[in-house]
């Protein structure tokens, strides 16, 4: 009877109902600043880019208006050999750097997960964070000094071996490889840390049991560790794909996209188009194409790599 009264009370009493509404509202009030910021810096620019991609927007001639341009900006983007070239360079960059980062990251993670002393492991983990903690601009600037043809540290060291200095940043192929090397150096630790965390989820008793069964590390990796690593690998792939597709700062300060267009990745090309040529319409269309590429790649990763491990 008492319980029934208690249940009936809120329905009859208006003040309680108000309180309930307020209680329901409270989480939204807490969420509002975050959602507001997300809308302002995340959603609004995407909507603006979609709008600009179908309009003619010339930033230095806004007086001429911003007429609807249909799919013209998209046609221009696909017919522009400089843009398609930049997309191809970015995809090649992705295709080389991602497997390298994964392979190196996996090796280091397995090493750290294995026989290393706990103290050494702690020190290595801290050391791994250092490249990631550096801003990409600084990495590019340091790279431009280290690989400078005339005054760089690398050529200085090469000189000790009486070898001819190498034009790391002035030769097209070498500049591309140097940029790749810096990318792999900076972001392999990120992949390593994700994989170390994934390996920590492997139940120790299973690993122990398999260790008694076989001495082959490859079998341990294939049958026990890999299923637990796959979610981490998928996350690393998605994060790094998104990062490399929009990679800008490091390359910009290292080579500026040069020599020629040899290191001009797609984000650098789009920035030039938007803020040097001020053709915002075409640049927005190119950004949308880039967004689509990233989404497609991320879905492919999830489809082919992501499997929930069951302990």
């Amino acid at each position: 009877m008492l319980a029934e009264q208690q249940r009936a009370q809120p329905a009859l009493s208006l003040p309680v109902s108000k309180r309930e509404r307020r209680q329901r509202l409270t989480p939204w009030l807490f969420l509002f600043p975050g959602i507001g910021v997300l809308l302002a810096v995340g959603i609004y620019p995407v909507i603006y880019a979609l709008w600009a991609s179908v309009h003619k927007v010339d930033l230095v001639n806004l007086a001429a208006g911003t007429p609807f341009d249909g799919a013209q900006n998209y046609f221009s983007a696909f017919l522009n050999s400089l843009f398609t070239g930049a997309v191809a360079r970015s995809l090649l960059f992705l295709a080389i750097s991602l497997p390298l980062e994964l392979a190196l990251g996996m090796l280091i993670a397995l090493y750290l997960h294995g026989t290393v002393l706990p103290r050494v492991r702690s020190v290595v983990r801290v050391v791994l964070v250092i490249p990631m903690a550096m801003t990409p601009v600084v990495v590019g600037l340091i790279g431009s000094l280290v690989f400078n043809n005339q005054f760089g540290l690398v050529n200085y060291l090469i000189g000790f071996g009486h070898m001819q200095s190498v034009d790391w940043l002035g030769n097209s192929q070498l500049a591309y490889l140097t940029t790749l090397a810096l990318q792999v150096w900076q972001w392999t630790p990120f992949v390593t840390l994700i994989l170390v965390a994934s390996l920590a989820t492997v139940p120790p008793e299973i690993e122990e049991a398999l260790r008694l069964e076989t001495k082959s590390w490859l079998k341990r990796l294939r049958y026990v560790q890999l299923p637990f690593l796959l979610p981490g690998i998928t996350a690393a792939l998605i994060f790094q794909t998104a990062y490399i597709v929009k990679l800008f700062d490091m390359v910009y300060t290292l080579t500026g996209g040069g020599p020629g267009v040899s290191t001009e990745l797609v984000s650098i090309y789009i920035e030039r188009n938007a803020f040097r040529a001020f053709d915002i319409g075409t640049a927005a269309a190119q950004s949308v194409i880039l967004l689509v590429i990233t989404i497609v790649l991320s879905n492919l990763y999830i489809r082919f790599f992501y499997v929930e491990a069951e302990a």
Partner: protein, 453 residues
């Protein structure tokens, strides 16, 4: 002056603005009565406590400007804040300030190639607005003391928008000790001489020393310093000044780019990735014997803290090509943002007027700036002290302010040249096919801009 704007509809407005400007100029000329009655402190009194924000670059002239700003602040009570940008980011920063209707910057720094863009969009205020105001206009401004080519460079539709500051001419810097050692008592006067006579004797690849270095980094450096220099000197040009038909694949342009490619054996490798700073360093460290650089870099090369070749440094006019064209020309002016509140506009004008004044010019030169003031640049004592002044002044007598087009479409055109120009220089694109691509794309830009009917 030549007017490159195609729209005749603006002529009446231009004539009116010109009349207003001339009136303003006349008002600014020193008259005995006005000269006696005007002082910077009095003119600035209503703006005491105002803070203005001025754009500067990370180049020597702006170091000099910053050093002198306290003088202005002390006299006027106006606070001058500066925001420093590398050259390649300045146009983007200022344009974004304008299109977002911001008044973040009051003093706008304009490369002469941005004049059309800024003036056409009405982002900057015509100077006559201030020079016609006797309370603001310093009677001693003396516009006639500026080199005419520099005033013309910052006019648009015959309206003056900026007062020149940080004004360059392309000069030949050479290491006279290296030249003497190679048996030369004077620098080359033609490009052919530089390549054929001086080049082989001054290049020693095994020792890592080279005769010449041409800054060619992709961007405005590629377009201006590398491409334009050899375009004009060998008979090419950007476009026909009457029809706007691009001339970038003309026989002269092809010859110019062929000559540029032929300089590779006497230049350090990787020159396509070198900007001004790297080339100046190559010279400063004694790795190259000659560079063609803007007059502003004399300060860096003459500074014992940054240069090993100070005692061997000499300056001459740029080598001439077969077309004997006008030398490399570039530089800046300060303008007043039309988006700033009136009081800040007035305070900014007072600052610009003071910075570009005859009285401040010698101080600026002594602190490492380059200015376009006849009185200071031809002062015998300063000319003796700064050897770059004589060749710079001599070249300004026959310089073309449209050495690079100043039309609003220039940033797009520059990107096209930078794209293909560096590929041509690398050899990944043939000279003629590359120039044809440049010509075609620039024709498209000029057509959509309404220049080519």
């Amino acid at each position: 002056m030549k007017c490159f704007h195609p729209r005749g509809a603006r002529r009446i407005a231009a004539a009116a603005a010109t009349a207003a400007m001339l009136f303003g100029v006349a008002a600014a000329q020193p008259t005995p009565g006005a000269a006696a009655g005007w002082s910077l402190a009095d003119a600035a009194a209503p703006y005491k406590g105002t803070t203005i924000n001025v754009v500067i670059l990370d180049r020597p002239s702006y170091v000099a400007e910053k050093a002198l700003i306290p003088q202005f602040e002390k006299t006027t009570g106006i606070t001058v804040k500066t925001t420093t940008y590398p050259y390649e980011s300045a146009l983007k920063a200022e344009t974004l300030n304008f299109v977002s209707n911001s008044n973040q910057y009051d003093g706008i720094l304009a490369d002469l190639i941005w004049t059309g863009t800024f003036a056409n969009s009405k982002w900057v205020v015509p100077l006559s607005t201030f020079t016609s105001n006797p309370k603001l206009a310093d009677p001693a401004l003396d516009l006639k003391d500026f080199f005419p080519v520099w005033l013309d460079a910052f006019k648009w539709d015959n309206v003056q928008y900026g007062l020149p500051f940080d004004s360059y001419s392309g000069l030949l810097y050479y290491n006279k000790c290296l030249l003497k050692k190679a048996g030369f008592s004077s620098p080359p006067t033609t490009w052919a001489e530089l390549r054929d006579k001086y080049g082989p004797k001054l290049t020693n690849k095994s020792a890592g020393t080279y005769a010449y270095a041409l800054q060619s980094l992709r961007g405005e450096t590629q377009t201006a310093d590398s491409f334009s220099r050899f375009l004009w000197d060998f008979g090419g040009s950007w476009y026909d000044p009457k029809t706007y038909a691009p001339q970038l694949a003309s026989p002269g342009a092809v010859k110019g780019m062929e000559f540029r490619a032929s300089l590779a054996p006497i230049m350090p490798p990787g020159i396509v990735s070198d900007d001004h700073a790297q080339v100046v360093q190559l010279m400063a460290q004694g790795k190259v014997a000659m560079i063609t650089e803007w007059s502003s870099f004399y300060t860096t090369l003459n500074d014992p803290a940054t240069s090993k070749v100070r005692d061997c440094l000499a300056v001459a006019k740029e080598p001439a090509g077969p077309a004997a064209a006008d030398p490399a020309f570039g530089g800046f002016a300060y303008m007043v943002s039309s988006q700033s509140p009136q009081a800040k506009q007035d305070a900014t004008y007072l600052f610009i007027q003071w910075l570009a004044s005859k009285a401040v010019a010698p101080q600026l030169i002594n602190k490492g700036a380059v200015v376009a003031r006849k009185g200071a640049d031809t002062d015998p004592a300063l000319m003796k002290k700064y050897p770059y002044l004589a060749p710079m002044v001599a070249q300004w007598a026959h310089s073309n302010y449209d050495w690079r087009p100043r039309i609003p479409q220039y940033p797009q055109m520059s990107e096209v040249v930078a794209n293909y120009g560096s590929q041509i220089q690398q050899g990944s694109l043939g000279i003629k096919p590359g120039l044809d691509k440049i010509n075609d794309e620039i024709k498209g830009i000029l057509t959509s801009g309404g220049y080519i009917k």
